[in-house]
Amino acid sequence: MKRSRAYIGFIVPGFLIYTVFMIVPIVFAVYMSFFNWSGVGPMVPVGLANYRKLLFSSRESRIFFNALTNNFKYVGVVFLIITPLQIVFAYVLYIRIKAHKYIQFMLFLPYVISTSIIGFFATMVFDPNIGMLNNLLAAVGLPHLRGAWMGDPNMSFKIFVAIVIWAFIGNGMMIFNANMKEVSHDILEAARIDGAGELAMFFRVVLPQLGSSLNTVSTLSIIYALTMFDLPFLLGGVQGGVNNTLDFVQMVFYRRAFGGTYFGETSLGYGSAISVTVLVIIMACFLLLRALIYALERRQAGSI
């Protein structure tokens, strides 16, 4: 570490850009949240009324907390399904199963495709009328299995998760894979000489070493989970999917701030209140995550 005034030269240009185009809009959003304002015309100060409406009015709070629950449901899916799957995929690539180069190439490929195209692909597959899934089921003599897919409240979230896995698993998978490649060869050799199979190697040697990549991937995933917007917007529409099963807080914000499809009742004041509330929740999650990781690292350091 150096003590020199040179840091000012390094930080100031970025600081200016960041402040003007990122912090000023945030501050403005906080300010707007205390007003009733449609985006045109006078801003009517209403104190905390927007927040009260969001948290306590029966309809609004029901919609908001349903969406928030979906966000956290997705966080749960990240830790219980997506992350383990990423680790498993990373490991099978790491032990170089047959065609691993091809498989790596293909698993990662959807990550570079834009979300609007992914959403269109989903329509091509799952639309009950024109989609290929129902057509295929009818063609192979299983017409009774045809379904509403995204239009079925019991299926929509599962399909959504499947699409997320298909589309976005590559990034985290490769981060774990790179981490595995850094595990010292001596440890691996020692375990191998001890006669450990691939499974035992995985649990005893590789898994305990993944701390740093787990940190990175879970941070990325939580940001993604709590700012979730593009994909559910494209899959379930702005109203949040069938029976609001694909409604997330950013979409509630979007509907309230910018209105529905043709109706267009814009309400930037109330929308800002939603957004500020979400910002606070995300910050709390981060502090929690940071504390958790810190505690884990302490324990690990203690055990060695």
Binding site: Y7, L109, M124, S275, L279
Partner: protein, 286 residues
């Protein structure tokens, strides 16, 4: 004892080999989903309109280029492609420049308020950019940058929180001895940053640039709001307009998707190894 263990290990190896084989086959089958979806879109792009209506999932009766002509010439996708490239290049370059210097200043120096500033630069991670559009629009207008690719690139550059986190992690493990040596050689701080630090951090620069390249390339929301002029529409925005109303654009949407996918898949095909390793450098260490 040794014998038994050896025996067990051989049978385990055999069953492990079978298991590995099965995993390979399953994953190869799984990969057909992507091949089919992409392949089908590209094939559909060559179909005539009646062919596409009657036969959405099969092989084209004949290959025609009419859809591409409409998309590229009439709907200006060539222009959109150039706009996208300009925007992505400017956005990524500005973002890397600003975020790397900020992280360097934050990580390599000690000064009062450093902790506060580090947190300050991460707030942006949690803020939905949609909410900022109104103040952003007003700021851009004030700077006379509405409807300009450069103005939008500045907004992308300001979205630097994630990059700052990644760079900062990298700098935390940086060898200070190297800098000391450079200083003794008479280099000032900026010279050593440019001539010593940047060459060393090439892989992490590549990572950050690539992640943001993909993010900016795929974003349709900000272009929709800030590039209202059809002359500076981006490729992803063009695609979004097609897919959002695929009923009226049924014959164009596949050609549009094919045009948008082609460059990114070609790049990925040739550089996939580098892209994948690049993405992961810097995100593991720390």
């Amino acid at each position: 004892m040794t014998k038994r263990r050896a025996h067990k290990s051989i049978s385990e190896t055999r069953s492990a080999a079978v298991a590995k084989g099965i995993i390979s086959v399953v994953l190869i089958l799984y990969s057909f989903i992507a091949i089919y979806l992409i392949g089908n879109s590209i094939l559909n792009a060559f179909k005539t309109k009646p062919d596409l209506i009657a036969n959405t999932f099969g092989w084209p009766n004949a290959f025609v280029l009419e859809n591409f002509r409409i998309v590229l010439v009439e709907d200006g996708f060539m222009r959109n492609l150039i706009n996208s490239l300009l925007l992505v290049t400017m956005g990524t370059a500005l973002l890397v420049a600003f975020s790397s210097t900020v992280s360097y200043g934050l990580s390599m120096y000690t000064f009062r308020g450093r902790g506060f500033l580090s947190n300050y630069f991460t707030i942006g991670l949690m803020f939905p950019i949609q909410l900022g559009i109104l103040p952003l629009f007003i700021i851009l207008k004030w700077l006379n940058l509405v409807n300009s690719l450069f103005g939008l690139a500045l907004i992308y550059a300001a979205n630097m929180s994630f990059s700052v986190v990644v760079f900062s992690r990298f700098f935390r493990g940086f060898e200070h001895a190297l800098l000391e040596a450079a200083r003794i050689d008479g280099a000032n701080d900026f010279q050593s940053f440019i001539f010593l630090v940047i060459p060393i951090m090439k892989p992490v620069v590549f990572t950050v640039a690539l992640l943001n390249f993909i993010m900016i390339w795929n974003d349709f929301y900000l272009p929709l709001v800030f590039l209202t002029n059809s002359a500076n529409r981006t490729l992803t925005l063009g695609i979004y307009n097609y897919t959002a109303d695929f009923l009226s654009n049924w014959n164009k949407v596949f050609a549009g998707v094919a045009v948008a996918l082609a460059p990114i898949i070609v790049i990925y095909f040739f550089f996939s190894e580098r892209i994948v390793t690049g993405l992961t450098t810097g995100s593991v260490k720390g």
